[in-house]
């Protein structure tokens, strides 16, 4: 049985090394104030999943599965949503700041990409986010319970679909 100090240490370590995964998932599934709610949901899911982690498996694969599962099943509960928003009132939305011309261009591209991903069906969003994070087809298949060939077929089709959406949205 894991005590809360051990749980906290593992959780902190995961956030230190893999916070980008949560950041990508939150942006890929929600926008604006909803993003804060989802980010908190992802962190809660991760905290609660710590005791179930078996050290034989890779932490990153485990974190991908927990966070993508939480995002796919996430639903905005109005009361909880309001309460959480209140607690995060002081937070500035983490829209990516634009300090100079090159970073502004990078930001626009990112917004374009996230916007296109959010137009996909939930499972497709998850598959694309995993691929962008460099997860192999075999790992994606393991995380989602799909076959590797199915993942490949779906991702090829999704790349074409995303290109179409991007071309429609691009200035």
């Amino acid at each position: 049985m894991m005590n809360s100090t051990e749980q906290q240490a593992i959780f902190d370590g995961w956030l230190r090394d893999h916070a980008a995964i949560l950041h990508h998932v939150a942006n890929g599934f929600a926008t604006g104030a909803d993003r804060h709610d989802l980010m908190q949901e992802l962190m809660l899911a991760l905290w609660r999943a710590v005791p179930a982690f078996r050290s034989a498996s890779r932490a990153s694969t485990f974190i991908f599965r927990v966070t993508h599962n939480a995002a796919l099943t996430w639903k905005r509960a109005e009361r909880g949503y309001r309460r959480r928003l209140d607690s995060f009132q002081e937070l500035q939305p983490s829209e990516i700041s634009t300090d100079d011309a090159s970073s502004a261009s990078s930001t626009d591209s990112l917004e374009l990409l996230y916007g296109a991903i959010r137009r996909l069906e939930p499972l497709d969003r998850s598959l694309v986010l995993l691929q962008l994070d460099g997860v192999s087809y075999a790992q994606i298949a393991e995380i989602h319970g799909l076959s590797e060939s199915n993942v490949g077929v779906r991702l090829n089709r999704l790349k074409q679909k995303l290109t179409t959406i991007i071309q429609e949205k691009a200035p």
Partner: protein, 198 residues
């Protein structure tokens, strides 16, 4: 512009979380978990306290020589035993659910199947709870009748008892029906999500 053209932006430092904001999230989570833990303790204390108060009070009353004739007051006994029977059924359902999905954490697809089953179980629990509550309410006039026959309740006390339990019944049923209705779209959403895997 294609999807591949945007990959450099994905890999740029702009797509990284803000460490300051992450710390704020962590503080928010700690506060949320603390509140959740306190709320859990309050709910458990209330449920255990109320059960002990009712059942323990009854046992204490009988042990200290209080008059109780089961053949004439069996309605009250049934009323006290109903919540225990429901709790036992809940535990049985939970154990069966865990046995049916021992490795729900293998993949997201397995997790979805377990969630759909959990949704079914939650609805079954609510149906049972509402049924038992309605059964208990229909039992109430009999209980007050029996209590009056053995001289433990006066008519105006029976009226007060029926009024209080009637209000509690309405509040509880409204809450449970609302909860049941919220589970239905959730079931549809989860099933649609699972279907997208096929």
């Amino acid at each position: 512009m294609t999807f591949d053209d945007l990959i450099p932006a994905w890999n740029s430092s702009r797509n990284a979380p803000d460490p300051t904001q992450l710390e704020r999230y962590k503080a928010g989570i700690a506060a949320y978990l603390g509140k959740e833990y306190r709320d859990f303790l309050v709910h458990i204390s209330m449920a255990v306290g109320l059960t002990l108060f009712l059942a323990g009070g009854f046992v204490q009353y009988v042990r200290s020589g209080g008059a109780f004739d089961a053949s004439k007051e069996w309605g009250s006994l049934v009323f006290l035993l109903l919540p225990i029977a429901v709790a036992a059924w809940f535990v049985r359902g939970f154990v069966k659910h865990r046995q049916a999905h021992p490795r729900y954490d293998l993949s997201i697809k397995d997790g979805l199947r377990a969630l759909i089953d959990q949704n079914r179980l939650s609805r079954a629990r609510l149906r049972l709870s509402m049924g038992v509550l309605t059964g208990a309410m229909t039992l109430l006039p009999l209980i007050t009748y029996q209590l009056q026959l053995v001289g433990k309740q006066r008519p105006h006390e029976a009226v007060s008892m029926l009024a209080v339990f009637g209000v509690a019944y309405l509040v509880s049923m409204t809450w449970q029906i609302g909860k049941y209705r919220r589970l239905l779209p959730e079931k549809a959403r989860l099933e649609a999500l699972l279907a997208s895997y096929e």
